[in-house]
Symmetry: C2
Subunit: 192 residues, 2 copies
DNA sequence: TCCGATATGAGAGTCAACTCTCATGTGAGA
DNA sequence: TCTCACATGAGAGTTGACTCTCATATCGGA
């Protein structure tokens, strides 16, 4: 039952191949213009097998592999919402840098056609947002449905989304650092 | 060539019928679960005709009919980004209240399944965002690609999005007023 | 080495968005 | 009233995501 057998390793390798080839194609011709059949062919599997690895094409661009932001949030000391969220992003990205960026995945994710990526992920985000609000409210000593919490979380997510978009268009940018700078700016009241 | 003929009036009526029936079905069974064929049947037109009115099912939920935010922005006096944007939202919603909310459209839009509505619209938003950034930069006396502008616009849009979501889930809420309150909170530095 | 569980491929099939063509009907202007 | 432009319906066709079934191949344990 361990995951060390040849079978498991083979599955993991197939999974990686699918992801790698899929993102390569997305980069070349865009998300919508890439068919599952093409991905399957590039990964040298049958289309049927593709769906045994991913329940839907959408799931390829899921940010499930994103660093556990909520976890990082829970580890933050109490403080005002924006400060707590900024710290959480820093923590989460520190973990990501070591693992995912270094592994070369992150670049592929960002290089993928961005609007579609956002679109596919937004469908899953309401739950995440609620969770974030709850933890932040706890750290700030407010109720989870306090408008001030909602506003702070919204502002942070908006700022991060904008940087994210800019990052996707400029692979030379140091994303995590830029996000931290932007959140510092927000923390200081968006001064001019 | 005027738009006062019987032909034009008929087309307008058909268009309204399609929208009304579509949103009714969306509300009843969700966006994804509603097929174009069902919409066409409810509106008493053929599926082919549906596509003569809307190039894609997605276009039904486009916020193209949203108040001209960019226009309202251009009418704002110079000032810091958040202040300018807050004023623009107020102006834009004032126009909307009289026309669209009263016409009963707004409620239908908000009552529609929210995730898919957001998803469909996000695809069209990059252009809007860039436009907003440019105007705001002009009003604040900065370059359009100034990170501070980007951050402010991101924060405002994030805050508005959160209120919007809450509004969709609580039709009793006074959306425009709540958005204005939220932006005032952001303007004052998200104080606790 | 043999057997059972499981991964895969092949291929047919479903479903829905969207396109195209062609025939018909109905306003608009002369 | 006549005629032309155009809106519509009918219906077939295309595409791509996703499902199902069944035969085959391969791994893992006995």
């Amino acid at each position: 039952m361990g995951d060390s057998g040849l079978r498991e390793r083979k599955k993991a390798r197939t999974r990686e191949t699918i992801l790698r080839e899929a993102f390569r194609l997305f980069r070349e011709r865009g998300y919508a213009a890439t068919t599952v059949e093409q991905i399957a062919e590039a990964a040298e599997i049958s289309p049927a097998t593709f769906f045994r690895y991913f329940p839907a094409k959408e799931h390829l661009v899921a940010l499930d592999r994103f660093p556990p932001l909520v976890e990082a949030l829970a580890a933050q000391p109490p403080g005002p919402p924006v400060t707590v969220l900024r710290g959480a992003f820093r923590t989460a990205f520190a973990a990501l840098s070591a693992e995912e960026i270094a592994a070369g995945h992150a670049r592929e994710v960002f290089a993928a056609t961005v609007p579609e990526l956002l679109v596919a992920n937004l469908r899953r985000s309401p739950g995440l947002i609620r969770e974030v609000c709850e933890v932040v409210a706890g750290r700030a000593g407010c109720a989870a449905d306090d408008p001030r919490i909602r506003n702070a979380v919204g502002a942070v997510l908006g700022v991060v989304a904008m940087v994210w978009l800019a990052w996707a268009g400029d692979t030379g940018m140091d994303g995590p650092a830029e996000i931290d700078r932007a959140l510092a700016h927000l923390e200081s009241g968006l001064s001019l």
